[in-house]
């Protein structure tokens, strides 16, 4: 079953592109990794997943307060949007764009719903990254947990 296992990581990534989870910025990172830095994508994706989880947690705390500071929420959303764009996390980025709109409208319901979307898209992506990493030697280069 070695051949299908070796093929699996590439088809997993292809599926992620096809599903709109990733865009061509991720391919830019793959090009950056070529040659001198074989662990670059591992580090970036690991950082994205850890930092993104922290940001989502901070946003959830802010939205839990009776009086929501939409500027602070917007600041965190902006950070997640930026880092999503930088690694090619297309769906998360697009969810953040919607979320930012709700922050500007100061809509609590909109923000709460947007947080759910962002959280789902974020964890879908990070789960796929972990699956890719656990798929074998060809999947090396992405975080395992």
């Amino acid at each position: 079953m070695a051949a299908p296992m070796l093929n699996q990581p590439n088809s997993l990534l292809a599926n992620m592109f096809a599903a709109g989870l990733l865009d061509d910025q991720f391919q830019e990172l793959q090009m950056l990794q070529e040659g001198s830095a074989p662990d670059f994508i591992v580090k970036v994706v690991t950082l994205f997943c850890e930092d993104g989880e922290r940001i989502i947690g901070e946003i959830a705390k802010l939205l839990d307060k009776p009086c929501v500071d939409y500027d602070k929420v917007g600041g965190f959303v902006r950070q997640l949007k930026g880092s999503s764009a930088s690694i090619g996390a297309l769906r998360v980025k697009n969810s953040c764009i919607q979320f930012h709109q709700c922050c500007q409208e100061k809509s609590k319901d909109g923000c709460v719903n947007s947080l759910d979307s962002v959280r789902n898209d974020f964890y879908d992506l990070c789960s796929m990254f972990k699956l890719h990493a656990s798929a074998g030697p060809a999947g090396a280069g992405l975080p395992k947990q």
């Binding site: 930092d51 600041g75 930026g82 690694i87």
Partner: protein, 125 residues
Amino acid sequence: MASSLKALLVEDTAVDRMVLSFMLRKFHCEVILAKNGKEDVDMFLEGNKFDIVVCDKDMPIMTGPEAIKKIRAMGATDVKIVGVSADDNAMEAFMSAGADDFVPKPMRLEVLGPMIQEVINMKNN
């Protein structure tokens, strides 16, 4: 492309700092990091010299455009300053603050490369 450029990267988001600094190092730049506009300005106040500054827009304590205005006002007119942002309205803010260029995020190697080469050419002339 051989380069001995000293680059200051001003970026509050950790992932963006990692990606952008890696891109700059790909072009053999020495990269110094600042996490907000105030740290950016402090670098210049401490007498540091840079060939290029790559600066985000929205950051805590001091924004990129605010920092750029202060840096230019300090007399640092030779250093190339490139504003980067995912904000559609960022270009005007950066250019009116005194930046030389604006690049929408995410940064691409094919965009950064010619900018680095331009700075190298100016430095060699």
